[in-house]
């Protein structure tokens, strides 16, 4: 029983990590049709931000809290820089953004190696986030995982509120739905693009902070995560957040379940097969934004 709960929670927490990573992608890929392979390196930037902050702020707890907004801004600014320098020229060529940002990710990784050294760096986590929370006597769940789950849900809530209620959100949706019309109506699509990219990349920074609690902090930390996160967005369906949220958790639980009964390598193959099978049923993903313009 305790194992079952523990394993279910594992699935949910894998889902939460996926969600945190995929959320930013849902915005840049889902809303802007940019395949940003450097998203993983923005995560890395967020994680290194924690490392750098901890050189200054000694309290692990305080540095983590400060790191959340700082990483958001650091990664967000990197995103804006990328958008202004390169992506802007590629809006008509979404596939090319994939290759170009892959190149950017290589450069960022090597830069991190040259700045921080090739080995992983070490950050301290507040003691409270290294233990576990006991639900009952024999059911305990990792507090770091709980924190990440909370963070992921908070990020979803915040993003939903921004998209639904603020004028920025309305503008983003307007540009997504009809770029030309939005431009004609006097919206600065360029500014909206940059802001969208800022938020999407900033979310990667937040994910980076969260990952310092559970994984290595090194130049290559982003690469392992990115393909799965993209799959989440693809399967979830672009243009809507709820698909991403649902699919992240479903894939997490699926991965954890299959992994438990077989092996990690079989699990990743089964997950892939499940995704191809799913796309047979719904080639556009779980939810699609139906407009007349897409057949």
């Amino acid at each position: 029983m305790s194992l079952l709960v523990g394993q279910l929670f594992s699935g949910v927490s894998i889902g939460a990590v996926l969600l945190l990573i995929a959320l930013g992608l849902a915005l840049t890929f889902g809303q802007m049709n940019v395949i940003n392979m450097a998203h993983g390196e923005f995560i890395m930037a967020g994680a290194y931000t924690v490392y750098v902050l901890q050189q200054v702020v000694t309290s692990a707890g305080a540095s983590l809290l400060i790191a959340l907004p700082v990483s958001f801004v650091v990664a967000g600014l990197l995103g804006v820089l990328l958008e202004v320098l390169l992506i802007r020229r590629l809006y008509a060529r979404p596939l090319d953004t994939l290759l170009v940002t892959w190149g950017v990710s290589l450069i960022l990784q090597q830069a991190a190696r040259d700045i921080f050294g090739a080995p992983n760096v070490q950050t301290r986590a507040p003691e409270i986030l290294t233990g576990s929370v006991h639900l009952t006597d024999d059911i305990a769940i990792a507090s770091s995982r709980l924190f990440i789950l909370g963070l992921a849900l908070a990020a979803v809530a915040a993003l939903t509120i921004v998209l639904r209620t603020t004028s920025l959100g309305r503008r983003i949706r307007a540009v997504v739905q009809n770029r030309d019309l939005a431009a004609v109506s006097g919206l600065s699509t360029g500014r909206v693009d940059r802001l969208t990219f800022f938020i999407g990349s900033g979310l990667a920074g937040i994910a980076g902070v969260a990952l310092t609690l559970i994984g290595p902090i090194g130049p290559a930390m982003g690469t392992n995560l990115i393909v799965n996160a993209f799959l989440v967005v693809v399967v979830g369906g672009i243009g809507q957040l709820k698909g991403t949220v649902i699919v992240a958790f479903v894939l997490g639980v699926l991965q954890a379940t299959v992994e438990y009964t077989t092996t990690v390598s079989v699990a990743s193959v089964i997950v892939f097969v499940a995704i191809v099978a799913f796309l047979q049923w719904r080639p556009q993903g779980l939810f699609t934004l139906r407009t007349r313009s897409l057949a």
């Binding site: 594992s10 927490s13 894998i14 305990a140 559970i214 290595p216 992994e259 438990y260 990690v264």
Partner: protein, 420 residues
């Protein structure tokens, strides 16, 4: 306008070329003359005042983290030797090549070092995969490789010297230690590649013979950083210890998850065979303190030779840089080669090999006196179990007392029959 002449002439050219190539074919497999002709043997260029030695390590890619330190240690040894007058009166000129964490690249660069640079010996490689990839290159060219990392055994190549531990110098002593510490059951966690799988096979054979229980076995893909399921399984198993053969980044995620799950070094210690001082630094003692490692050398190992090595290394590369087992083995390998060359009185590869195979090659290494075992081309090494301290250093808690004779095929262990 749409004629066929163009294609036809090209096709004819292709055909001629292919036929020419095929008729010019060389030796068939098993053809004695051909083999001899094929393997005239690598020629060492000793014409100048310096002799080249090859350094083959991943300087980029995922393995760079570990292999750069090995390269640094080799360079340190080369510098020291040069400062002391070189080998047979010749200075050593290191030629460093990047294996880029990619096995075919290792093979390519090995070939380059041998045939372009005509090096006297090559030092390097870390992963078993890279060693397996270059092994045929060295055998084909009859050139020398010194391999400095602990590995899974079950291999002897006439052109490779193994200066890291084989399984009976690391895994087997580690199991002996766990058994003597009263650990009756283990859970095996490893990365999905050759070393962990072979190590675990040995552990299972050992356990079966000694009454130790193996409660589970899990492999994560190299680079995997998601361990919640595996840690759940470990926790549920109730094993008395974990034998960890994870590699690289995976260790960080594993130990963070391990601590989060409320598992401690006191209740369920993890014995790791791939975590050295450098890795401790990047994982953090917050997660590692009290856990066990199995190596043949620690930075804290006592002895004048080690004091000198640590001091020289830190002076050259920075006071915050720790020294570790693979670095020490790499450093030692250069000196062992020097001893072989000097004994042979020649850089010629077959002569160097003959000198080594005759036995008696020793070096007062940082880990203590090491001796090359002539027939197997492995090295006698002292096994050491260490405990990770809160200062990030590893303190020895047990050693084998004397250097253990290398036995890559575990022929001297009755429980291991059928493993190789």
């Amino acid at each position: 306008m749409f004629g066929y002449r163009g294609r036809r002439s090209a096709a004819v050219l292709v055909a001629i070329g292919t036929v020419a190539a095929l008729t010019a074919c060389g030796a068939k497999t098993g053809d004695a003359v051909g083999s001899a002709q094929a393997g005239g043997g690598a020629v060492v260029d000793t014409s100048g005042s310096a002799v080249k030695v090859g350094l083959l390590n991943s300087l980029s890619g995922t393995m760079a983290i570990s292999e750069v330190t090995v390269r640094d240690a080799i360079k340190l040894a080369v510098d020291e030797i040069n400062a002391a007058g070189g080998v047979l009166g010749k200075q050593l000129e290191p030629v460093s090549e990047d294996g880029a964490s990619d096995w075919p690249t290792f093979a390519e660069k090995a070939q380059k070092l041998i045939s372009q640079d005509k090096v006297a010996a090559v030092f390097g490689c870390w992963t078993s995969s890279s060693r397996k990839a270059v092994k045929p290159v060295f055998e084909k060219n009859k050139a020398l490789l010194f391999y400095p990392v602990q590995y899974e055994g079950l291999e002897e190549s006439p052109y490779i010297f193994y200066t890291g531990a084989t399984t009976n110098q690391q895994i087997v002593p580690a199991l002996d230690y766990l058994k003597s510490a009263g650990k009756t059951s283990v859970y095996l966690v490893g990365s999905d590649y050759v070393f962990p799988r072979t190590a675990n096979k040995i552990i299972k054979a050992y356990a079966a013979a000694s009454g130790m229980k193996v409660l589970g076995e899990d492999y994560a893909p190299l680079g995997s950083t998601e361990f919640s399921t595996i840690v759940n399984k470990v926790k549920a198993s109730g094993a008395s210890a974990v034998f960890n053969t994870l590699n690289g980044d995976s260790n960080v995620a594993f130990f963070k998850e391990y601590k989060s799950a409320g598992l401690t070094a006191e209740a369920m210690p993890v014995l790791s065979v791939s975590i050295a001082e450098e890795e401790v630094k990047s994982i953090g003692t917050q997660y590692l303190a009290g856990q066990l490692t199995a190596w043949n050398y620690y930075q804290t190992t006592k002895g004048a030779a080690n004091d000198k090595f640590v001091k020289a290394y830190k002076a050259k590369y920075g006071a915050d840089k720790p020294t570790s087992d693979p670095m020490e083995a790499a450093y030692t390998s250069v000196y062992l080669w020097k001893a072989m060359v000097e004994k042979a009185g020649s850089f010629e590869i077959e002569k160097v090999k003959a000198a080594a195979n005759a036995g008696g090659i020793t070096f007062e290494a940082p880990e203590g006196l090491v001796t090359v075992d002539g027939p197997s081309q492995h090295v006698f090494k002292t096994a050491r179990i260490g405990k990770i301290g809160t200062d990030g250093l590893i303190e020895e808690v047990w050693n084998s007392g004397q250097p253990v004779k290398p036995d890559p095929y575990l022929k001297s262990y009755s429980w291991a029959t059928g493993l190789s």
